[in-house]
């Protein structure tokens, strides 16, 4: 157990996986460069050799197919892209091949592939460096989708992803890379498909994922002073979705807010609301709500992104309104950090 950052935890998970299984390989643009994909792949080439850890051509589609081909013949491949947005070039391979193969060949083949995609945001990432498309992947039968929210989870979930016999889309929010927590040593795994209860409370359920869990925690703390205790569920896996944990929380609180880092229409949040509305309607004491990014691309300008992201005050505000608590001013009490476009001083442009 040691206190390390999310990025180091990713790095460690890969190291552990590569140490215990020589069939694990790891590549991606910049995997072996001096920056090592925000530090997450630093030192791997030195340790495991350039046959197993390598840079690649800017050929996202073919390199995904190469990963699939390697994976169906017994390798366990970890491929990383510095932005999810670049991976749009590889949708044919991930959807028509990776996601389908096990089913379509009746179990003859399976694809133990982990695709690490880094979600951008802040510092003027703009419209094509900031997309959060988890709902796309969740919509495709055959894929698993994971979104860790802490250093500890990053390690445990990544190790499970790597050794999962199916293709896993592993989404890392860059704003988490420098956050840290106690992370168990060695081959530490957290099962995919199980959510984590971060906080227990009876008044309101918050379902969250990835970086938004950090914001939700701030909101939860703030809400306490109004006597509101929230049940905070971090999804960990987007697919398979741990609907049972959500349902059981809803059955207790009767009130729910689902957060999502992606655009609103056809989001994971809207899907969860639909599942609850169709399956356990009677549990609702009040109408459910969601907080997602708007159906708008992310603009670049510093000023245009002010107030653009979901943050603690939005979460608190939503819940206060739902509970009709009027003597609160969350936007004043939890002001947007200045500058608002970085998670902390460590996060510098230009990239």
């Amino acid at each position: 157990m040691k206190n390390i950052t999310f990025a180091n935890s990713i790095n460690e998970a890969i190291k552990v996986a590569m140490s215990i299984d020589k069939n694990v390989i790891c590549y991606g643009l910049g995997a072996t460069d001096p920056k090592g994909i925000f530090g997450t792949t630093v030192g791997l080439e030195e340790k495991f050799g350039s046959e197993r850890v390598f840079d690649m051509p800017t050929s996202e589609n073919a390199m995904t197919g190469v990963a699939i081909g390697a994976s169906i013949s017994g390798m366990k491949t970890i491929m990383t892209h510095q932005r999810l947005d670049f991976f749009l070039l590889a949708m044919d391979q991930i959807v028509n091949s990776a996601a389908k193969m096990h089913y379509m060949f009746n179990g003859e083949l399976n694809v133990p592939l982990t695709v690490r995609l880094i979600l951008g945001r802040g510092w003027g990432q703009g419209p094509t460096h900031s997309q959060n498309l988890q709902s796309w992947f969740a919509h495709i039968p055959g894929l698993k989708v994971v979104m860790p929210s802490s250093a500890e989870d990053a390690k445990g979930l990544l190790l499970s992803s790597i050794f999962d016999p199916n293709p896993v889309i592993f989404l890392e929010h860059r704003w988490l890379h420098n956050s840290s927590s106690e992370v168990p040593d060695g081959d530490y795994r957290i099962p995919l498909g199980k959510a984590k209860k971060i906080k227990e409370g009876n008044d309101f359920t918050i379902v969250s994922m990835s970086y938004l869990t950090a914001e939700a925690l701030i909101a939860a703390k703030y809400l306490k002073q109004f006597g509101i205790e929230v049940d905070l569920i971090d999804l960990r896996s987007i697919k398979p979705l741990d609907i049972d944990t959500i349902v059981s929380s809803l059955s207790k609180t009767g009130r729910i807010l689902v957060l999502d880092t992606g655009a609103s229409t056809c989001s994971v949040a809207s899907d969860i609301i639909s599942k609850l509305s169709t399956k356990c309607f009677s549990y609702f004491k009040d109408s459910p709500c969601i907080l997602t990014m708007p159906d708008i691309p992310e603009p670049t300008s510093f000023e245009l992104t002010k107030g653009f992201y979901i943050r603690a005050a939005d979460i608190a505000n939503e819940i206060l309104q739902k509970l009709k608590i009027e003597n609160a001013n969350p936007y004043k009490d939890i002001p947007e950090p200045d500058p608002h476009d970085i998670p902390g001083e460590w996060f510098k442009g230009p990239f």
Binding site: I25, P57, S59, T64, A70, I72, M75, G107
Partner: protein, 342 residues
């Protein structure tokens, strides 16, 4: 040993590379090559005969006219080598030793099919034989073949990966990206392009620049290349053998081979379609004169008794269709199974 058993033996030993790699063309190879050539032709023709009865209910792309290359390579690879192929994959599946019964059953959507009925004609698989699947998306299986070669290289296996594609797949960026990577990493892979001049109804002229040589294009990307007459089976085999040997013994890196050939029937389905006017009847007739099967027989007249092989094939096919037709369909509940590997 009666004739039938003898041929079975041929069939069984067909994929034993060690035995045959260095042998010159001999009677055994002639027999086995003919067997595959004729088998592919006869299987495809039987499918064409059965298709109109509406029991085969999936898109089906026949290789009639294009049996030369698959037959040529069938005696050059073993179960540790990999094949990946396309929508037009029956011939490659059979050439790799894929189980005929399982292929026909798959086309009929039966539970005994190689993909349990889930994949159909466009999704054949025989992992034991190193046949790692076909794809219904043009170009889609190319990088998979490269990934298989990467895996072989990392595991230091002395095996190759063969990627079958058509002339249309050349137009997909993924072909270019995949070949670039294969060359970069010097992978043991052969790209086998069966250039049949058409993609569905579209001639090369509406898809690729005039004067384009596909194999020279591949060469500029960095592959070693060859170009051969895909309807001349023994020539094709010679080229393939040399190249496979080079890859396996000298780690020569990726090769790209363009084989000229021609599809006789419609792109998808069982009928002849020259009347549609997308290609010239004379072009078709000229290619038909260069039937790989007839050419092969003409060039190897005295050596073997083709009739016996034909009979054996007939019985295999008869059995495959008889079984496939009567084999059970999968349970409906199977549709909801095996989404994820456990």
């Amino acid at each position: 040993m009666d004739e039938k058993d003898k041929f079975k033996l041929i069939h069984k030993s067909m994929f034993n590379l060690e035995e045959n790699q260095n042998s010159e063309i001999n009677e055994d190879i002639i027999k086995r090559t003919y067997y595959m050539l004729k088998k592919i032709r006869s299987v495809e023709e039987r499918i064409a005969e059965e298709y109109p009865y509406n029991e085969i209910r999936c898109p089906t792309h026949l290789s009639i006219g294009q049996e030369g290359v698959p037959a040529a390579i069938s005696t050059l690879v073993n179960d540790h080598d990999y094949f990946v192929s396309t929508h037009r994959g029956h011939a490659h599946y059979l050439a790799k030793g894929g189980d005929l019964n399982k292929m026909i059953a798959e086309i009929y959507g039966k539970t005994t099919g190689c993909a349990g009925g889930k994949g159909g004609s466009m999704h054949l698989i025989d992992k034991q034989k190193g046949f790692m699947g076909t794809s219904a998306i043009v170009g889609n299986s190319i990088p998979l073949g490269v990934g298989l070669a990467l895996s072989n290289k990392l595991k230091k296996k002395n095996s190759i990966s063969c990627i079958f594609i058509g002339d249309g797949a050349i137009e997909e960026g993924v072909f270019y990206e995949s070949l670039n990577f294969a060359v970069l990493k010097n992978l043991p892979v052969v790209f086998i392009c069966e250039n049949n001049l058409y993609s569905v109804y579209s001639p090369l002229s509406v898809r690729q620049p005039e004067g384009r040589s596909i194999n020279l294009l591949a060469k500029a990307i960095g592959a070693n290349v060859a170009h051969a007459d895909g309807n001349n089976v023994l020539e094709s085999r010679k080229v393939l053998k040399e190249i496979i040997t080079k890859i396996k013994t000298c780690e020569s890196g990726p090769w790209f081979i363009e084989f000229d050939t021609y599809r006789w029937r419609e792109h998808c389905g069982y009928q002849f379609d020259n009347h549609l006017g997308y290609r010239d009847e004379n072009e078709y007739l000229a290619w038909k004169k260069r039937d790989p099967l007839e050419l092969f027989k003409k060039n190897n007249q005295v050596l073997i008794d083709y009739g016996k092989i034909d009979k054996f094939i007939e019985s295999e096919i008869e059995e495959a269709f008889r079984k496939s037709k009567t084999d059970p369909f999968p349970e409906k509940s199977e549709a909801y199974q095996k989404l994820y590997a456990e």
